[in-house]
Amino acid sequence: MFYRENGQFKSSYAADQQLLPILQDRVFMFALVAFAFIVVPLVVTDYVFLSLLIPFLILALAAIGLNLVVGYCGQISIGHAAFMAVGAYAAYNLVLRVPQLNFLVVLVLAGLVAAAVGLVFGIPSLRIKGLYLAVATLGAQFFMDWLFARVKWFTNYAHSGSVQTAPVELFGWSINSPQEKYVFLLAVLIVFTVIARNLVRGHIGRAWMAMRDMDVAAEVIGIRPVYAKLSAFAVSSFYVGVAGALWGFVHLGSWEPAAFNLTLSLNLLFMIIIGGMGSILGSFFGAAFIVVLPILLNQLPQFLGIPMSTAMVSHLEFMIFGALIVFFLIVEPHGLARLWAIGKEKLRLWPFPH
């Protein structure tokens, strides 16, 4: 009923190739974006912005980045928080040492630095794959943890290793209030999502997916593994680096090397596993699941008016959260994005399934 695309004929290549070929999808997407830009800033409280929406937007961007290399190219990485750290510290040093730079330029440069580092740590993927590669990427994590904790130049010789940043300014617009941060992040995220969507359905993305599905066959049809794998690592690290810079500058404002530790890497990985590997939409679902759900669970007993000690609440939070992860992985191993796709398929036939 909602998804009857009868009568929507494609009469040009442009119509055939657009991102959202079905009218209902386009309308829905534009409505959603308009809602996110106009309605959300008006109705949502500061708490929801600062604790839920802002971390969600930034980690969704990071999850998209990780999904490019893990979900699309099939190269497992469990050290991606390291590239977030590279992005964040690169941006910090750029702002500190070249204060004239516009923040958008800083973001892109930070992404490029992270991409370069990602390229280096992607080199092992040329020789090893699967779990062995996963272990090799751990090296990135530990190396970066060590680097930013021990080499003082990166933290501008801060005596406790914690760095702080001034509020972001863009063309005289100081991004300070939660609403402004949200709108800025949303805009960045939309731009990067559109780029990612187009990347993965173009020849580059196809090369990645061919590599993921069977590397020997991909080589036979003329895809160069060096190029495909390293480009996936570089683009992925770029995304994650930008997300790291935003995490530091817009979300945290001051951070220590431990902000980008192994836990964050694993969380990113869980996001794309639960959300759906090889799906941009899944990155959003996964980020929402990991960021928002624990906080909601933590507040649930209070909403329901059940008196409970804070220790009990946080134990329960861990248990329920863990159980839900297991539940979703059993019900739909392909992630929440797959559930969404199934739902859409059903709605297309509803109310008269075959």
């Binding site: 109705v43 604790s51 005596h159 406790s160 001034a166 951070w255 220590e256 431990a258 909601l296 220790a311």
Partner: protein, 459 residues
């Protein structure tokens, strides 16, 4: 069947989301308009309590939180609140994690009729993170004995209050103390001091001062970081066995402290040459090491172990009424008492602020005046029943720390014994220039306009 599953899921998610945002919405809405109408007076002062009763730091977090909350309950039960303004409070579990701490801060800052009174982040990492927010939210961040050392400077850090001492003070006191044992700090030349520290902003804070002192006195400083949570220290203590430092300063927290002491026993490093900071000298730190902990020393400030008049009141008004917090864990222990003193100083700063702003629920901004004009003298300490548990303290707009005095206590196998006639005062001639330089750097990086204290006091 698939459809049913999907619909159920969708409904579940939708309710969860609607529920979550809706309630958060409601809670903030309740806080926001009331904030403006503060003058009307609702008769309740809200204290947020950031605590950790789970995770690797729970053994230390639980007694502290119990002491803090018990004292707040006592003020309500015994005095009917602060000059008639009743205290309300809410705990939020941070697990010592910075991100959850910030979430708790955001969750609690708008509650109560006038918003949060002040925050005790109870973690240096969380302190660093919420310091930025305090400038916008105008809520004081009280970090007694922890937090940023440079936040003593009230002209830059307008909302931070490291009451009673910072890690630079602590490190300075320890160097003075071991200097005194050797017959003067100049005798430390050629000695080796190892700093075994928690590899986080907390543990790294004292390094700057220890390096400064090392330049002055010519001792050799070994820096030995221990990663969170600190249960793996074999490599660290291997280095100590090789290097044989004359003293080990321990800057640990939670399970890391007891692990260090156990490793010292295993390495054969004499415990009486080990000195912990005031966060490394409580009962949960030494009891797991059993007899091996005997002779271990630590700084103590504000509150040593023991019971005084205030404890009797807590038993009478809180525990006997069946209102004890968390099964009375740690009652009368070091951290319980310290939590109690923390609550007391918070309550007293509200009382002080009421002198200027009236006996009604106050906002964080109004309470700041109380914190900046805190004057708890010996008579006040006695009146409050805290005799022997803290030394007098007075603050100002420029100096957000007040006086910093500490002693040394030693674990005798059963209890902490305060060493007589050891009274350590940090040498501000060394620390003050460091604070100024560091605060200036912070102000420049964050583009902060400094406060003019002379002008404010005239208003």
């Amino acid at each position: 069947m698939h459809k049913a599953k999907f619909v159920g899921l969708a409904v579940g998610l939708a309710t969860a989301v609607a529920f979550g945002t809706g309630s958060a919405l409601a809670q903030d809405k309740k806080g926001a308009p009331a904030k403006k109408a503060a003058a009307a007076g609702g008769g309740e002062q809200f204290f947020p309590v950031l605590s950790y009763r789970t995770g690797a730091y729970a053994p230390n977090g639980i007694p502290f939180a119990n002491g803090f909350v018990d004292y707040l309950k006592l003020v309500n039960a015994r005095d009917g609140g602060i000059n008639g303004v009743r205290i309300t409070f809410e705990e939020c579990e941070t697990g010592y994690a910075t991100d959850r701490g910030v979430e708790c801060y955001e969750r609690l800052k708008g509650k109560g009729p006038t918003g949060a009174t002040l925050f005790h982040p109870l973690s240096t990492g969380i302190t660093f993170a919420v310091t930025d927010k305090s400038f916008v939210d105008k809520i004081p961040i009280v970090t007694f004995g922890y937090g940023r050392a440079d936040s003593v400077d009230g002209t830059v850090f307008g909302w931070n209050f490291p009451l009673g001492g910072t890690y630079w003070d602590a490190a300075d006191m320890l160097v003075q103390h071991v200097g005194k044992i050797n017959g003067g700090v100049d005798k430390l030349k050629g000695k080796k001091i190892a700093l075994v520290y928690h590899d986080s902003p907390y543990g790294k804070e004292p390094i700057a001062l220890l390096e400064e002192r090392a330049r002055m006195h010519g001792y050799q400083l070994l820096l030995l970081p221990v990663t969170h949570p600190g249960v793996e220290q074999k490599a660290t203590w291997l280095q100590i066995r090789q290097q044989r430092p004359d003293y080990v300063f321990l800057w640990g927290w939670g399970v890391m402290n007891s692990t260090s002491i156990k490793e010292a026993v295993a390495t054969g490093y004499p415990r009486n040459q080990m000195y912990g900071v005031w966060w490394s000298g409580a009962e949960p730190d030494v009891t797991p090491a059993g007899d091996g902990a005997k002779g271990y020393n630590a700084l103590t400030f504000l509150a040593p172990a023991g019971q005084g008049q205030v404890h009797k009141d807590i038993i009478k008004y809180v525990h006997d009424k069946g209102d004890a917090t968390g099964k009375k864990e740690g009652f009368g222990e070091v951290l319980y008492n310290r939590g109690m003193v923390g609550a007391m100083m918070s309550v007293e700063s509200v009382r002080r602020a009421q002198v200027r702003h009236g006996r009604k629920p106050l906002t964080g901004e109004q309470v700041r005046w109380g914190l900046e004009n805190l004057a708890i003298d010996q008579a006040a300490i006695k009146r409050l029943g805290f005799e022997g548990f803290m030394s007098p303290i007075s603050t100002s707009c420029v100096d957000h720390r007040g006086d910093s005095v500490a002693g040394i206590h030693t674990w005798d196998g059963k209890q902490w014994v305060v060493q007589k006639d050891v009274k350590l005062v940090a040498d501000q001639a060394i620390i003050r220039p460091m604070i100024r330089a560091s605060a200036e750097k912070y102000a420049a990086e964050k583009k902060i306009v400094k406060r003019d204290c002379a002008k404010e006091s005239q208003q």
